[in-house]
Every structure is written in C-alpha cells, then in structure tokens.
C-alpha cells in the first residue's frame, strides 16, 4: 500500500484499475482458455446503475465509414449532423444537445476536448475501436466534471486484444494483424492497420496506423463549392502493455496525428470563368495536430481483489491552424493559430467491503492555451492557463442483486470556473427478473471555447459580436468565468428484457431533462449576425438552455438470423436569447436550432448462409428549426422540412476477413442550395466572393440535411 501513495506524493499519477482494467487482471488468473464472447451489437448492461449501452465491434462494422463521428449511425440514442457545408465536420448530439456537453473520453482520458473539440471525433478511426460505452444521463463522478448529458468512453484496441485473438485455440494463429481498406464514390479513401505481438510473458506491444484522405473534388449541386473538403489524415498510435506479478499492470501509449482539410470554392468545378485563381475564391483550410503520451498503471491487491489503485498521466500538445475566406493581402480572411499544451494526472483508489464499495480520485489538469484569431469583426491574441484540482468520491451500495445505489460527489477548484461542487446520484432497481428501473441526477460543468469549438460556423459572412448591445461585452473567448457552462441532468428509465417466442428482445423507455444554470449562447436568429454571450438562470427562472427528451426503443431478435430495432425520440430544446435591445431582462425562449423535435429509426439485419450479412437503417428526421434569412423579422426562424435517410450494407465474411459494399443516403436526399449567396438567385450561376450578393448573403452554416446525395462505398477487412 505504500507504493500507490508514494506515487501520489510525487504526482506521477494516473488511473483506472478499478474502472476498466480490472477485468484484465481477472483474466490473468484463469490460465485455461478464455472463450471470447461474441457480444451482440448493442447491449445494455443490466447490472450497472447507469444506463450504459455497449457498442461492440460487430455493431461498428455496420457503420458505413470510418471514424467515431460516424459510428453512431445505427444507434438510436445519438444523432450525427454537419456543422456547416464546407469543413466536412460532423458532430454528434445526445438528447439534442451538442456532443461537447457529453464527456467524450478515450480510455478515460481526454481527446475530443480543447482545440480538438470541433473535430476530435474524426481522429479516432473506427477500425481501431474495440468498443464504445455510452452512458445516457450524467456519468460517474470520478471520470471528471465535464459530463452533463452523458458520457462516451471509447476503448481502443490494446495489445492483448490482438495477441489474445491470435493465441485463441480456434484462431489458427490469425488475429494479430488487422488491415482495412475503404473507398467511396465521393473520392474518400482510407487504410487502417492494427498489429500486436507478445514480447515475453510480461510485455506486449501494438501499433495502430491510419491514413485517409480525399484527393478528388466533387461539386454535384453545381454551386462552385466542393461537396466535401480535400485533405488527408495521418494518425498513429504505439502501445505497450505490461502485466507484472503481484497485481501490477501498465499501459503506455504514444499518439501522433496530423489532419488537413481544404474546402470551399473550387476553380476546377467549371462554375467560374477561366483564369479564376486560388486568390480569387472563397477557401477554407484547417490543419490540426496532436502529440500525446499516456501512462496508465494499476495495482490490484492479490490478496484482496476488492482493493485497487490506478494512476493516469497524460501529456499532450494540440494545434489548430487555419483560415476561411479569400486568401490575399487586400482581403481579411478569418485566420486562426492555436496551441494547447496540457497534462492530466489522476489517482484512483478503490476498495470494496461486502455490499459496499467506494472509488475515490484525485485529479489534476493543466492546459495552456494560446489563440491568435483575426476576423473582420473581432481580433486578438489570447493566452491563458487553466488549472483544475478535483477530489471525488463515489459510494456504491449493493445490498442485493436487485438494487444498486451510487452516491458520488466531486469538488473542483478550477482557475477559470472557480469553486465547483458536483453531486451525482444513480439508482438501479430491478423489481423482477428482466425489469430494471433507473434514476439518475447530477451536476456537471465545463469551460467553453466558443470560437474554436465551433470553427465551422465561421463559414459565413455573419458579423461575430459578443452580444446585441455593444455596451454589454460578454467575454466568451474562453478562459474567463463567462465561458463557464453549468448544467443539471436528471433522468428516469425503464428497461424490460423479455423473451418472446424463444427469442430475446428488449424495450427501453427513458425520460431525461438537462437544465443549464449558465451557458454560452450562440445566437443565429438575426440575419447577418452571430451573437455570442453568456446567459444565466436568473433567480430560479427558466434556464438559458434546456433539453427535455422522451425516448423509446424496441429491439427484437426475430429469429436466429434476423434482428430488428425500432426507436423513437421526442426532444424539446429551448434556448433563452437576448432580444434586440440586448438587456437580460427581456429574454426570449426559442427552439434551439438544428434539433428536430421528432426522430425515428428502424434498423434490421439478417445473416444469410455462407457468411453473408445484410443490414439496413432508415432514419427519419422531423422538421427542425433553422435560422431564417428574412431581415425584417425578428427572430428570423424557419422550419426545415422533415427527411429520411436510408443506408444499407451487404457483407461477406470469411475466416480471414470480409468485404463490404454499402450505400449511404440511398434515397438521394439533398438540401437544395445549402450555401446561401453561393449562386445567383435568378441565373443560378456560381458567384465569386467579390459579388455583392455573395458579400451580403454568404452563409454555409444553415445546414440541416445532406449535401452529397447517394454515396456508394466498398471496403475490406483482412485478418492475418
């Protein structure tokens, strides 16, 4: 026991024996063959006090492509949407709220955060993912304060996943090399690699590699803008795993990536006069990079497996450099140069006594930001540091198999957000076999970076202002208390696992509410303007941002080869805006843009003989509010029409891998004129940025549906 505390004392701390990695220790003790359970695609853990959905590799294969932002396409809980029509950035929504309000972690460490918050999901290649745990409703308190709507934890392939696969008795030595190739009709290609090997009985190593890109531009709708940005991503991870004696284990990871995306108008589209050069058109460019090292060490007391200590140490450097606009000296494009250097250190201690268990953690994190931004309506260089010291404890009471109660609390001293106390409660009650009721309630906070995490929203000639009233200059760059966001989340859910006609099925009903005490509002309801300002719940009145959702999902294994899923969700999101006078007293509660009220999903898959699998997913997005363009009306709010997206895939599997052919957006649904001011309203000719119509109307952020129509893709996985 001295060791862990010594580690703590020197601050070389890190994480998680109690959380994720203990299973590894357990598997060490069984020297017989461990049978690898073929988990079903989507499963709900009935024993957990939180509403956890596990998304396995089997399920991830159904997603068309390619990275984490797209791996939720067959999931009824998470929505995927574009932020704008030029950068190709996809973001997720949970309970209709942006993905930034869910704590997204990679093996309990941050990645989609800070300067990578806008597109970090695309930096986790789908083929690297071992599994995803999605928690609906506020997550475990020891994982950090930033969970507000829920938590998404991604487990990446570890050396032992690959080595165990190859060492399994029926594998014939295959499984420690995974290769993947993919290409689609939109010109996107991708290569992925995973390789693991055992060095000796204590050490295993793995390498994960990714290269993807798009070199061929398309302009299907003829508006002069590329449908998808060009660019590339090089991404690699080296991992080493140590299983020692006396309960020690370690996982060390080095991660490096570089991602470049170039979009905007395209001289090769044929829409512009001959001789139009790169300096005459509207372009976007973004280069992001990351270097990180993570050390995780854990110790499980061999005499008392209920006792464990874990430490995590992560050091990282993230960069974001780009521009949007006309890149020549006489114009003033939006230009961004950002660096974030940081570290996180965490010690976790877990102890169980019979019906009781506690997990406590000490977390320290530090981020140094330097952001240089120039934009026609705001410019500046901002340097600041953010430190957070957090102490958390969580107590679990499990008096009998049908009840679990978890009470947790954390206290954080954050140099930006000041003192924060976040209590959390999770209850699970299973009155009868197969029936589970859960209650969740808790609080979380985060510090927003409203300009960088919404980078794609600069693809517009809207003027960016801190608030309506210039006198009231809310300070929402990040790094001050005005960029703080605080929310309470509460939820109730019921799961019924039934067997009907010998086949398993489940019904899940849930209601969740998220109410913000403080939020950074992005207001697009005045044409030509983008207002940013902090909003507070004043005197217990309506919260500045609120989400109330009801969900229902039914899954049923129709027969041994056929599975189906039906889901519906109702989501009511409201944002409190300042009215034109800009005074807080006159707030307007309006529907939050880009969130449909009604969402439906139907999914089916069938395995045929001989290793053939077919699956199809139909998604329906109800009408959604979007910012309008009528300057005479305030608030300018329009409804975008409802639409359906149908996707499907056919896959043939062999012992040594598979080949898959699929289609996205099979119904060929497209948003007409996704970019305002891009074409002449009468002639339909593409306009250059110097055109007065372009100058007054250009806006690529009113995106509610697909830009690219039907897309066919082909891919293969090879297991060696």
């Amino acid at each position: 026991m001295k060791w862990p505390f010594l580690l703590l004392a020197i601050g070389v701390t890190y994480q998680v024996a109690g959380q994720v990695d203990t299973s590894l220790y357990n598997s060490l003790q069984i020297d017989e063959v461990v049978v690898r359970e073929e988990a079903t695609g989507l499963s709900i853990n009935t024993k957990s006090a939180t509403l956890d959905l596990n998304i396995s590799r089997t399920e991830l294969k159904k997603a068309a492509c390619c990275n984490l932002s797209e791996s939720f396409e067959t999931n009824p809980s998470i929505d995927v949407s574009f932020t704008d029509a030029v950068t190709g950035t996809k973001q997720i929504q949970l309970f209709g709220l942006a993905g930034k309000y869910a704590q997204i972690q990679v093996e309990m460490t941050p990645l989609v955060r800070g300067l990578l918050a806008n597109s970090g999901l695309s930096f986790i290649p789908g083929t690297w993912v071992q599994s995803i745990q999605l928690t609906k409703g506020i997550g475990a308190v020891n994982n950090g304060p930033e969970s507000m709507t829920g938590q998404i934890n991604v487990e990446i392939l570890k050396p032992e996943d690959l080595v165990d696969a190859a060492e399994a008795p029926d594998s014939e030595g295959r499984g420690n090399v995974l290769l993947n190739g993919y290409a689609n009709q939109g010109g996107r290609f991708e290569f992925n690699e995973a390789y693991g090997r055992r060095l000796n009985d204590r050490w295993m190593v793995a390498s994960l590699g990714h290269f993807s890109g798009r070199q061929q531009a398309t302009d299907v709708n003829g508006d002069g803008f590329m449908d998808n940005p060009l660019g590339y991503q090089v991404n690699g991870m080296l991992r080493a795993r140590y299983f020692g004696q006396n309960g020690w284990e370690g996982l060390y990871t080095f991660h490096a990536l570089e991602d470049v995306k170039e979009g905007g108008q395209w001289t090769g589209s044929g829409a512009f006069p001959l001789g139009t050069g790169a300096a005459d058109i509207w372009r976007s460019y973004m280069k992001q990079g990351r270097l990180a090292f993570t050390s995780k060490m854990g110790w499980v007391n061999p005499d008392h497996p209920d006792q464990s200590v874990g430490t995590i140490l992560q050091l990282y450097s993230q960069t974001m450099n780009g521009f949007m606009g006309v890149d020549k000296p006489s114009s003033s494009p939006t230009d961004l140069q950002g660096i974030q250097n940081g570290l996180m250190a965490q010690v976790l201690f877990r102890q169980g006594w019979g019906n009781w268990a506690q997990t406590s953690a000490l977390l320290f994190s530090r981020d140094l930001y330097s952001i240089l931004l120039s934009h026609p309506s705001l410019s500046g260089l901002y340097d600041w540091g953010e430190q957070n010291i957090g102490l958390s404890t969580e107590w679990t009471w499990n008096p009998n198999p049908s009840f679990t109660g978890v009470l947790g609390a954390r206290y954080d001293y954050n140099s930006v957000a000041s003192h924060q106390f976040s209590p959390r409660l999770h209850l699970r009650w299973a009155p009868k076999e197969g029936h589970t009721l859960r209650v969740v309630a808790g609080r979380g906070f985060r510090n927003a970076l409203p300009l960088t995490e919404e980078w794609g929203r600069f693809a517009s000639n809207r003027q960016v202002r801190y608030a309506h009233n210039p006198i009231y200059s809310g300070w929402v760059w990040g790094g001050t208390t005005d960029s703080r966001e605080i929310a309470w989340n509460a939820g109730l859910s019921y799961s019924w696992n039934f067997e009907w006609n010998y086949m398993p099925g489940s019904l899940q009903l849930d209601a969740h509410s998220t109410q913000f005490g403080q939020a950074v509002i992005q207001d697009y309801y005045t044409p030509g303007q983008r207002y940013l300002y902090p909003q507070f719940a004043s005197g217990g009145s309506t919260s500045p941002l609120s989400s109330n959702t009801l969900g229902a999902a039914l899954t049923y294994q129709v027969n041994k080869r056929t599975e189906m899923r039906l889901a519906y969700r109702f989501q009511d999101l409201r944002t409190m805006y300042l009215d034109e006078t800009g005074f807080i007293a006159q707030n307007l509660a309006l529907p939050t843009p880009f969130v449909p009220k009604h969402r439906w999903m139907a999914h089916g898959s069938h395995d045929f003989k001989g290793g053939w699998t077919v699956d199809a997913t139909l998604q329906r997005y109800g009408e959604q509010p979007i910012p309008g363009t009528d300057p005479a009306s305030y608030p300018a709010l329009e409804m975008a029409p409802a639409f359906n997206l149908l996707s499907g895939q056919i896959r043939k599997e062999w012992k040594g891998g598979d080949v898959y052919l699929g289609v996205e957006n099979a119904l060929n649904v497209m948003q007409v004129n996704p970019i305002d001011g891009a074409v002449h309203p009468v002639t339909g000719a593409a306009l250059l940025p110097t055109d007065p119509i372009f100058q007054t109307q250009f806006d690529a952020t009113r995106i509610w549906g697909p830009i690219f129509g039907r897309m066919v893709y082909l891919g293969t996985n090879i297991v060696l």
């Binding site: 049978v35 008795p169 029926d170 129709v558 027969n559 041994k560 189906m564 039906l566 089916g604 139909l618």
Partner: protein
C-alpha cells in the same frame, strides 16, 4: 417511404416468427466448458429448422426448439456428435472427438476434474 418500410417489416414479422411449427426437446450432451458450449450451440444453430439451442454447462442439458418437418430429432444428435460431443443417443466417433480442443476433452478424467477444481 418510411411508412411503407415499417408496414413491410410489421407484415413480415409474424410470418418469420410464427410461420413454423416448433417442438421443444431436452437431451444430455457431454462437455466441460464454455468453448464446448459455443461449439455445441453453433453446430445446432447451423441446422435449418433449428430455432434456438442452449447447452447448460452445469447440467449438460441441451435445450433445442426445432421444426420437425425440416429436421429430425436424430439429426440433432448426429450433428452434435459430428462436432465431437457424445449425446445420450449418439456417441461421437473417435476421429471427431480428436478434433475438439485439448481443454474440451470431456472423456478425460484430468480435464474434467481440472474444470471442477477451478470452480
């Protein structure tokens, strides 16, 4: 479009689920571990006409729901024996038994006791 799709799905469902006559049966199959379970169930589910199959590692009970018009009871026994496991009606051939993994050698006293010792 969506309504048509849903309607098709709902119409197809009862046919898929109830369009076949089903008979339940339980018989004993020898085996020792989770790997055996996977092998036995996979072999049974591979048969057309078998609706569901479940082998219990503790009791060795093999529960099968099948359509007697498409597969006979003896087919079930022969299939399980064909992947190396003795059932109460059919003993696996030695060459099939030889193919099961070392940890699944249920005819060997040491292997069986090793599994029980582990519990």
């Amino acid at each position: 479009m969506k309504n048509r799709f849903l309607a098709m799905l709902l119409m197809a469902l009862p046919t898929l689920a109830f369009g076949q006559k089903k008979v339940e049966i339980t018989f004993q199959t020898d085996g020792v571990c989770g790997m055996c379970e996977k092998r036995i169930e996979k072999a049974l589910l591979g048969l057309e006409g078998v609706w569901t199959a479940d082998w219990n590692q503790e009791t060795h009970a093999t529960f099968v729901v099948f359509n007697p018009k498409r597969v006979s009871e003896m087919d079930l026994h022969n299939t399980v024996a064909g992947v190396g496991h003795d059932t109460q009606k059919v003993k696996a051939k030695d060459e099939d038994y030889a193919k099961v993994h070392a940890c699944c050698k249920y005819r060997e006293e040491e292997v069986v006791s090793a599994h029980h010792g582990g519990l």
